[in-house]
């Protein structure tokens, strides 16, 4: 049985949640999100979640704990709230996320954190294809995506800012990204805890080893927060060498065109 527990609030929310199951005209939706995102300062716990979409969508504050398998577009447009998932996330989680934290104690599907502008997305397990595509940084916002396991093909494609870290925990010595890693990225950095160059890395990218100093200064603060979130050992997360992938800024797309 699915339960909805709203701490610090009346139990009448339960009824609202059930009533949302048959919503919009003609297209039934299984989306309790409208109510949940409005409960800004509460901690809400949902158990036995099963495919409900848009959980925590645009949530500005408060905490949403989900047990089970939330549906697509989890924590999309997340705007400062915290979404904690005990289970796997499906496709398009953290889409266009602006601020806050999405932590998944499990794996994520395809198109994770697409166009994310700020906040943190922590995945304990693997990510599917196209994680971190077109992530950005703007003003004081800097998006951070940490994947504990490995990532699928097209990781960080079109990356425009922010930081992606793939730790490959449990995949030591193996490829921890798929094909076409970082294709077309023009800003931001992808850090990989490996010494292997990603498969068919584009000629327009620069691969370099990460210095001890950079590890200390950039990676350590992020990973200590990540490790704390999932009760992992920071030492393990930071162990071994990291490589960084960045855009070769000397190659611009402007050269491609000739004005008529």
């Amino acid at each position: 049985m699915r339960t909805l527990e709203v701490k610090n609030d009346s139990l009448s929310e339960m009824e609202k949640y059930e009533s949302m199951e048959h919503g919009v005209d003609g297209m039934k939706t299984r989306c309790p999100s409208t109510d949940i995102k409005n409960k800004e300062n509460d901690e809400i716990i949902i158990t036995d979640c099963l495919g409900e979409r848009y959980m925590g969508c645009a949530k500005k504050s408060g905490i949403l704990r989900i047990k089970g398998t939330p549906g697509n577009a989890l924590a999309s447009y997340l705007d400062g709230g915290t979404v904690l998932v005990d289970g796997n996330a499906q496709d398009a989680a953290a889409d266009t996320m602006n601020a806050g934290l999405l932590a998944v104690r499990g794996s994520a599907g395809d198109a994770l954190a697409y166009g994310m502008r700020g906040g943190r997305v922590y995945i304990l397990g693997d990510a599917g294809y196209r994680a971190g595509v077109h992530m950005k940084a703007y003003g004081d916002k800097r998006s951070i995506l940490v994947i504990g396991g490995r990532a699928g093909s097209f990781l960080g494609e079109y990356l425009a800012g922010g930081i992606i870290i793939v730790l490959g925990l449990g995949y030591e010595g193996k490829d921890i990204t798929g094909y076409f890693c970082g294709n077309g990225m023009y800003a931001g950095t992808i850090y990989l805890r490996t010494d292997k160059t990603p498969l068919n890395l584009s000629q327009n990218l620069i691969k370099r080893d990460v210095t001890k100093e950079e590890k200390e200064k950039i990676l350590s603060p992020i990973l200590s927060d990540y490790a704390a979130t999932f009760s992992l050992s920071l030492e393990r997360c930071l162990s071994g060498g990291f490589i960084a992938i960045e855009a070769d800024k000397s190659k611009t797309y402007g050269e491609l065109y000739a004005a008529v």
Partner: protein, 494 residues
């Protein structure tokens, strides 16, 4: 016969550069300091205009016209007068200019993805323009362990679906061949020697060369056949289907004579047909003899002009053992052709591609051969449309020459090309720097390839083979139902 008028304005500084650049004798120097314009000799090649340091010179259509007549136009009357005086067959060059023959490429519009499937950004996502062309067997074969055996005949690998058309040494200069060969190497595509043999200095470009065997068999020998990745048997060309060639003895000098293996000063005649091919079964014999001579390691192309019954002709070629069929359309260029033939014989390449592709599919043999289309391809959109209509790849001739400086004045047959392209005059030849020329060719084909990727990406297609014959990508405008039916496309809005 005066068609153009040469003028200059007051900014002329009398540097006399124009007279030095003009190879047609249209601008002469009088008394060492004044310019004399022989308007009737001007071909409007734009060489003088390009090199005038002050922009003082103008070439315009001659505004003196015959009295207007709705039937007999100015050119008609001029040509009558010329023929009345000379008894000559009108000779011209470059591609057909039939004024009422539509360019179907311009009546075809392309599709793009919206919502239901994603478009693809070609700058970042993988986008494949490589094409393998050649024959395919009807079935796979397996060895005793069940492993698939490679039973594919030799294929050409093109990094981009654009090759350079056959243009012979003799018709064009060695520097043009040099530029085409080295650009092909850089681009990962192929150039074609045409029927005038292969100059020894170009043997090193073997991996990117297609050699041609035409009815004159000039310069054809064992080494020639094996210094290429494919051999093209030329039956005909779009500019002059059914017509042979004639390179005058005056041009058979020096290396041209050596390369063609024709004695100096002797005319080089390409008979209209191959006199060993009077029927389709004879073609099969020539194809097989070339394969034998090349140890079955080279692909064999058969090039034909797009004529009325091109579909059954192509079907016959496909069954003759040829790996690739090259079809040259109505608008294909030439170094010299009778004007009446050029402008009145053959059919546009768009219709030819569509009908050949459809016919080979009806006969279940489209996958067995590849089709290369040519004849008036002007830009990347034309390339794209040709492939979507059913071609595997295209060849460009005129467009490649434009990249080398040609302004299509259609005077190749005079041998006086001011741009150093269609000439064997050592002084004029020097005007074309093969390295610079190759760079321009590489730029042109690279730019077109980038554009093709953009268009493919917009349609959500990331491999050129998924575009071949993909007629859903096309819609027509300003066409009648018959034209749409032959092209196999729908009207825009349908």
């Amino acid at each position: 016969m005066r068609r153009y008028r040469i003028r200059k304005d007051e900014s002329c500084i009398l540097c006399l550069r124009c007279s030095r650049e003009c190879s047609f004798g249209a601008i002469e120097v009088k008394d060492g300091k004044a310019l004399l314009f022989n308007h009737e000799k001007c071909t409007d090649c734009q060489r003088c205009v390009t090199f005038c340091p002050t922009g003082a010179i103008y070439i315009t259509e001659d505004e003196n016209r015959f009295r207007e007549n709705s039937v007999f136009k100015d050119d008609d009357i001029k040509e009558i007068i010329l023929q009345a005086k000379t008894k000559g067959v009108l000779l011209s060059s470059m591609g057909a200019q039939g004024k009422n023959i539509p360019i179907y490429f311009d009546k075809i519009l392309l599709n793009a993805s919206q919502v239901t499937n994603p478009s693809i950004d070609p700058l970042r996502e993988p986008m494949e323009t490589s094409v393998f062309i050649g024959a395919r067997p009807a079935k796979i074969e397996r060895d005793a362990n069940g492993k698939i055996v490679d039973n594919l005949p030799p294929h050409l690998e093109l990094k981009t679906p654009i090759m350079f058309s056959a243009m012979s040494y003799g018709a064009i200069s060695l520097n043009v061949h040099k530029a085409l060969a080295s650009a092909s190497e850089a681009l990962g595509t192929y150039w074609n020697t045409g029927e005038g043999g292969l100059h020894e200095s170009l043997y090193k470009y073997k991996r990117n060369t297609i050699v041609q065997v035409a009815s004159g068999r000039f310069g054809v020998h064992e080494t020639y056949l094996n210094t290429a990745e494919a051999i093209e048997i030329k039956i005909g060309q779009g500019a002059k289907p059914g017509i042979g060639g004639h390179l005058t003895g005056k041009k058979i000098v020096g290396d041209v004579s050596k390369t063609r293996m024709v004695p100096e000063g002797l005319d080089a005649i390409s008979p209209a047909p191959h006199h060993d091919i009077y029927s389709i079964e004879d073609l099969a014999q020539l194809v097989m003899s070339i394969k034998e001579a090349t140890h079955f390691r080279k692909a064999v192309i058969v090039k034909v002009a797009a004529v009325h019954n091109i579909a059954p002709i192509a079907s016959g070629i496909a069954r003759s053992g040829a790996d690739i069929i090259a079809i040259d359309g109505y608008r294909g260029g030439t170094g010299a052709a009778p004007k009446r033939i050029r402008d009145n014989v053959g059919i546009p390449i768009e219709l030819a591609i569509a009908s050949v592709d459809e016919r080979l599919r009806e006969e279940k043999i489209r996958d067995r051969v590849s089709i290369v289309a040519s004849g008036g391809i002007r830009n990347s959109a034309d390339v794209f449309k040709a492939i979507a209509l059913g071609a595997d790849a295209v060849s460009i001739g005129t467009a490649a020459l434009c990249a080398l400086g040609c302004h299509i004045c259609a005077s190749c047959h005079t041998g006086k090309c001011a741009w150093g392209i269609a000439t064997q005059d050592p002084k004029l030849m020097e005007r074309l720097d093969p390295e610079k020329g190759a760079e321009h060719l590489v730029n042109l084909v690279s730019a077109w390839t980038s554009e093709i990727k953009e268009i493919m990406g917009g349609m959500g297609i990331n491999s050129i083979e998924a575009l071949r014959g993909n007629k859903m990508a096309l819609r027509g405008v300003d066409m009648n139902e018959k034209e749409l039916e032959i092209l196999g496309i729908k009207y825009a809005g349908e």
